[in-house]
Amino acid sequence: NAGVTQTPKFRVLKTGQSMTLLCAQDMNHEYMYWYRQDPGMGLRLIHYSVGEGTTAKGEVPDGYNVSRLKKQNFLLGLESAAPSQTSVYFCASSWGSRQPQHFGDGTRLSIL
């Protein structure tokens, strides 16, 4: 049972490049979330989804887009990467909003 799997684990981009971070969960969870974590800042919610085909903005959505075409996958896109987006990105999933979240091990993204 893999839980939540994030791909890739590490990536270095140049300013202006685009990329997609992949998140897959095998627990049949309805809710999925993307967070970024910066030193001393805790977790900040970027976007989330309450079911297949739905997405919503979180606390810091600017510069990111998401898609939830399949229930088990939640994709995070950076259209034009900026150095301010250097961070560790975590994906999580849960049965509902008032249930514990299960997290992946993160994607470490550096933008030069």
Binding site: V4, Y31, P39, G40, M41, G42, L43, L45, Y48, V50, A56, G58, E59, F90, A92, S97, R98, P100, Q101, H102, F103, G104, D105, G106
Partner: protein, 113 residues
């Protein structure tokens, strides 16, 4: 305990001691609370949760206490072990249809052998 700022609060304890990590929240509508543990290089991991109709809940070596009057949550770890060294986050969610839990900034627990 949790606080605003760029540096994480740190709690240093000796192996075998009991640890208490505190968390304050501000939303009086919060009624679901979770503690997570994050080890270096890993994602947060669920430890224990509590709903507002309870004021105490126990797990294996951990106890969560909820004081709704002063909006305070604590995580107690009994007989702390080196493997407990990590950053601990509290998170809260409120009634009213919000899908977004609010995370605290975290407390770093360092256990000395």
């Amino acid at each position: 305990g949790e606080s605003v700022g760029l540096h994480l609060p740190t709690l240093s304890v000796q192996e075998g001691d009991n640890s208490i990590i505190n968390c304050a929240y501000s939303n009086s509508a919060s009624d679901y609370f979770i503690w997570y543990k994050q080890e270096s290089g890993k994602g947060p991991q669920f430890i224990i949760d509590i709903r507002s109709n309870m004021d105490k809940r126990q797990g294996q070596r951990v106890t969560v206490l909820l004081n709704k009057t002063v909006k305070h949550l604590s995580l107690q770890i009994a007989a702390t072990q080196p493997g407990d060294s990590a950053v601990y986050f509290c998170a809260e969610n409120s009634s009213g249809g919000s899908y977004i839990p609010t995370f605290g900034r975290g407390t770093s627990l360092i256990v000395h052998p």
